[in-house]
């Protein structure tokens, strides 16, 4: 019945009108029959019926669903009111659209990465196994494992299935399909990996134990994408042979569409072939388990604990006296998002702050509007509107604003999400998979509603608090509705606005200083005019060291002979990237081993990058395999490991070879060394103790080509000459070796600090928006305070106060509020800065200079915002004000 009232309204109305008419007709007929004239009868009938209009309304009241109708009425009224104030309405809607859009965009990232379960069946049963060592007050956690840990878990853990992969060390490899070479992402996985993950190939099968052992058959599983694009979805794909890493591999499976392995979005999966020596001696694998249905996590952890013998931790780290070493399970999602959580949380914090500032701003604007509507509201109250109805009406106006803003915000949010994805996609591949979907839409709607509550309710409550008698008796424009209370709230809003802005500006300031610091760091080399490019030598055709050295020699030679090229070299890794690290490196006259970064380079490396040779000599063409073994070290190595003696001429033991240190070259910045020792700074980039071997003498390092790739660096007159020279040289030596990552050295550098830059950009933009909003809001609030004090100021002026005094009182009250806001904001900034702390470099989270500079800047803005309204006082004419 009810729904009919809502939807079938017009039909009911019509029926009732008809019935009333029928009544009149019947009554008229009745009176005519009683002998009255038709006119008299009709009059009598109408008289007896009563006022038809009033009756209609009475029916209407009955037939309506009261709340919905009040809402509808309020809605129409709100639209009318808002249409009459186009500037206010447009400003409010645009502000809301931008902040709601920003929130929606960031929410879709947060939802995708942090909230949504992993895209595998029963993701709560998945966990990553970590090796832990504790003791001496320190806890060392490592989510990578070695081959012995893997074997122990695989063979003895009965409460879960296990899978192993080369971890985050996915690598680019060469694949040849139909005569074309391509560079694709590979992940090496163990037998049982897909079974434990819960997603099996859609065609074919996963790897067997026999394939997953050293020397096993060469087999490969393809991604759906690769199968479709490069094999045109051939149904007879199984058993076909593809040339991968220079060897024929037999296809045994194709994964389902959209499947992504944890951490690495791979195109091909090959058997991991784990060992307990070589690669498997170190913690180079990622191990995960799927708990059996009938097992619990405490049980699994107890089982893991039981099988973790100290022998598993040999070479992982020293177990302190009284300390212990054990294995534990950490929820997989928790582990996978650990690097992404912090930036997302920081982004969420920033957009929520901007949203709050916008709310404060709008609340202030609504309050201001409310004062000018005092008379209207008083009239409505006097005419019998309940206070609830007035509050409802005012609130509906906010709701309409928020709804319009939210609707527009959906579009803006989609755009912003795309922007964020293109900015951060290279850094966080997960970001590119976030979508603006139903969940995000629902969250946006909820957010819109909450927003309207936040900014709309308090003004509505206050504005409706009108003393009717007073407001009606005196000219309404002169009465301040809500009186003192409203003043208090407005002051509170000023303080809140300043405080929230401080928080955002301090964080932005810290991030800006971080990026400035990172950029102004001495790179240690000259990146201008240098192009870098890389190939994967994880390739069967390059398993012989002689072939690798021939490749380096002939390509470098060819590039060097290209007109316009100044110099060229090959190196394992690059400045601003992560290098291989080797432990146990010691001087042959000293006992302790040291840990170093290690690279091999061809002779012209230092010359090409313009890294100065500060002592001794650089590498020479004559440092060949048959010459005596030599090595270069960098300044940091000399400073940290050979403090008291000249490092030149000393011999270090690297692996089985003793090498003479023949020269010291300048430090260059590297990313993530994988270790931290006294005297090094922690951060996204740093100088690490590094040794450079001549490539011709470094064949022992070629086995690391499964993790690290050699880079060609070329300095030429123009970058296009350099790029062409590299491509032509490598292409002519080996046409089946795809060249990857061709980029100017400047980009490599920028890539190393892109996380900081990304956050700085986003938080910076948000902080700018916040500052703008805060400035407008402060101006609006203070300007309104002056308007309301017009009469008071007029009286003061009339009583002999000078204009200067009056202005000072206005400006001071504004600045006082701003100062209070600064203090509150400063206090709030301390926990907020902790959110971005992990991204800071060269600046402390509590850096006083940033706080003071931010405070001074905001105070300046507040001064300007309060001075402008104060200037109006100059034009005050007390006589006019008092007479008005």
């Amino acid at each position: 019945m009810r729904w009919r009232r809502v939807f079938g309204r017009s039909r009911i109305d019509r029926e009732r009108a008809e019935e009333l008419q029928a009544h009149l007709d019947l009554a008229t007929e009745y009176y005519v029959a009683r002998g009255l004239t038709p006119a008299e009868a009709a009059r009598r009938a109408r008289l007896r019926l009563g006022n038809p209009r009033a009756k209609r309304e009475e029916f209407d009241e009955m037939t309506r669903v009261p709340l919905l109708d009040a809402l509808w009425r309020d809605l129409r009224f709100a639209l009318r009111v808002l249409r009459r104030a186009p500037v206010f309405t447009t400003t409010a809607i645009l502000t809301l659209a931008v902040v709601i859009g920003a929130n929606a965009a960031v929410f879709s990232l947060a939802d995708h990465i942090l909230l949504r379960p992993l895209p595998y069946p029963h993701p709560d049963q998945l966990a990553v196994v970590e090796g832990n060592i504790s003791g001496g007050g320190a806890l060392y956690e490592n989510d990578s494992v070695n081959g012995r840990m893997w074997e122990a878990v695989r063979d003895h853990l009965s409460s879960a299935d296990a899978g192993l992969s080369s971890g985050e060390m996915g690598s680019g490899v060469n694949i040849v399909v139909g005569g074309t070479a391509a560079f694709v992402q590979q992940l090496r996985v163990s037998a049982g990996f897909f079974h434990a993950l819960g997603v099996l190939p859609r065609i074919g099968r996963e790897f067997t134990r026999d394939e997953d052992r050293p020397g096993g058959p060469a087999v490969v599983i393809l991604s759906d994408r690769l199968w479709r694009e490069d094999f045109h979805g051939a149904p007879d794909i199984l058993g076909q042979s593809v040339l991968l890493r220079g060897e024929p591999y037999q296809v045994v499976g194709v994964m389902p569409p959209g499947f992504r392995s944890p951490r690495v979005d791979a195109d091909v999966w090959t058997p991991l072939r784990p060992t307990t020596t070589g690669e498997g001696a170190g913690t180079n694998y990622g191990l995960f388990i799927r708990r059996h249905d009938d097992a619990t996590w405490p049980q699994v952890n107890a089982d893991l604990d039981a099988l973790a013998t100290p022998a598993l931790f040999d070479g992982v780290g020293r177990i302190p006296d009284g300390g212990r070493a054990w294995l534990s399970a950490r929820p997989m999602q928790d582990d996978l998002v650990q690097d992404e959580r912090a930036p997302i949380v920081a982004l969420v914090g920033a957009v929520v702050l901007v949203l709050l500032i916008a709310c404060v701003n709008l609340a202030a604007l609504l309050l201001a509007r409310g004062s000018s509507r005092t008379k209207e509201i008083a009239t409505r109250l006097a005419l019998g509107a309940s206070r609830r109805a007035v509050v409802g009406q005012l609130f509906v106006e906010s709701l309409v604003l928020a709804a319009a803003g939210g609707a527009l915000g959906v579009f803006i949010g989609r755009g912003l999400l795309e922007g964020l994805q293109s900015m951060g996609g290279a850094l966080f591949s997960d970001w590119t998979f976030a979508a603006f979907d139903g969940r995000v839409l629902a969250a946006t709607v909820a957010l819109t509603f909450v927003t309207s509550l936040v900014f709309g309710l308090i003004p509505a409550l206050l504005v409706s608090r009108v003393d009717i008698g007073h407001a009606m008796a005196v000219d309404g424009s002169r009465v301040v509705a809500g009186g003192g209370m409203r003043h208090g709230v407005r002051r509170g809003l000023v303080v809140a606005e300043v405080a929230l802005s401080v928080v955002l500006l301090v964080s932005a300031g810290l991030l800006i200083r971080t990026v400035v610091n990172l950029r102004s760091v001495d790179a240690g080399y000259d990146p201008h005019g240098v192009i870098a490019a890389s190939v994967s030598l994880e390739d069967a055709r390059y398993s012989d060291p002689a072939t690798v050295i021939r490749l380096f020699d002939s390509t470098v030679d060819r590039i060097r002979r290209t007109p316009g090229v100044e110099s060229a070299a090959v190196s394992l890794g690059l400045p601003y990237t992560r290098l291989l690290n080797i432990g146990g490196v010691r001087f042959d006259d000293e006992g302790n081993g040291h840990i170093v970064n290690c690279s091999y380079v061809t002779p012209d490396f230092a010359r090409t990058l313009r890294i100065p040779v500060s002592r001794g000599r650089g590498l020479r063409e004559s440092d060949r395999a048959d010459a005596s073994p030599v090595v270069l070290v960098n300044e940091t190595f000399a400073r940290l490991y050979s403090k008291d003696r000249d490092v030149i001429g000393r011999r270090i033991q690297l692996g089985r070879t003793a090498r003479e240190i023949v020269g010291v070259i300048g430090d260059v910045q590297q990313a993530g060394s994988g270790f931290l020792i006294d005297g090094m700074t922690e951060g996204p980039i740093k100088t690490t103790p590094t040794v450079y071997l001549p490539a011709a003498q470094a064949s022992t390092l070629f086995s690391t080509h499964i993790w690290f790739r050699p880079y060609w660096v070329v300095r030429a007159h123009s970058t296009s000459v350099a790029t062409r020279a590299i491509l032509e040289a490598i292409g002519s030596v080996d046409s089946l070796l795809p060249v990857a990552d061709v980029q100017p050295m400047g980009d490599v550098e920028a890539g190393a600090i892109r996380q900081q830059r990304l956050l700085m950009t986003v938080v910076g933009v948000l902080a700018t928006a916040a500052l703008l909003l805060a400035a407008i809001g402060l101006y609006g609030l203070l300007s309104h305070l002056v308007t309301e004090r017009t009469r008071e100021i007029g009286v003061r002026l009339a009583l002999g106060a000078t204009t200067g005094q009056a202005m000072r009182s206005v400006v001071w009250s504004g600045l006082g509020l701003a100062a209070l806001g600064l203090v509150v904001g400063g206090l709030l900034s301390v926990p907020a800065a902790r959110l971005v702390q992990s991204f800071l470099w060269g600046v402390a989270a509590h850096d006083l200079r940033t706080y003071v500079a931010t405070g001074a800047f905001l105070l300046l803005v507040a001064a300007a915002a309060s001075l402008m309204p104060a200037l109006r006082i100059l034009r005050f004419d007390p006589a006019k004000i008092l007479r008005a």
Partner: protein, 100 residues
């Protein structure tokens, strides 16, 4: 209750109900006929009466109301309540000499 009682004798249109109540109360209860309709709609809403369009004796289109089963039950209940009330009031209003 008056309406229900009136309708007990059969379906009637609004004007008929008004006339009937006036006549049966000996013209003591003069219904403002307009107010009758809100009452009718309310009763219909509660499911005590039902209505449909029909033809009057003079062949005019009119909406006819009739008592539903629920309405009949309601009328019985209300009649009991009413008589009880009248009884009680009557007892209170009786001259004081009864008290002893």
């Amino acid at each position: 209750m008056l309406v229900l009682r009136t309708l007990e004798r059969g379906a009637m249109h609004g004007f008929g109900i008004a006339l009937s109540i006036e006549a049966r109360s000996g013209d003591k209860l003069l219904v403002e006929q307009g107010s009758l309709y809100p009452a009718l709609y309310r009763l219909e809403d509660r499911g005590w009466i039902a209505s449909e369009w029909g033809r009057s004796e003079t062949n005019r289109r009119a909406r006819y109301y009739r008592l539903t089963t629920a309405g009949r039950r309601q009328l019985a209940a209300e009649t009991v309540r009413w008589t009880t009330l009248v009884d009680a009031v009557a007892r209170v209003m009786r001259p004081a000499d009864d008290e002893a």
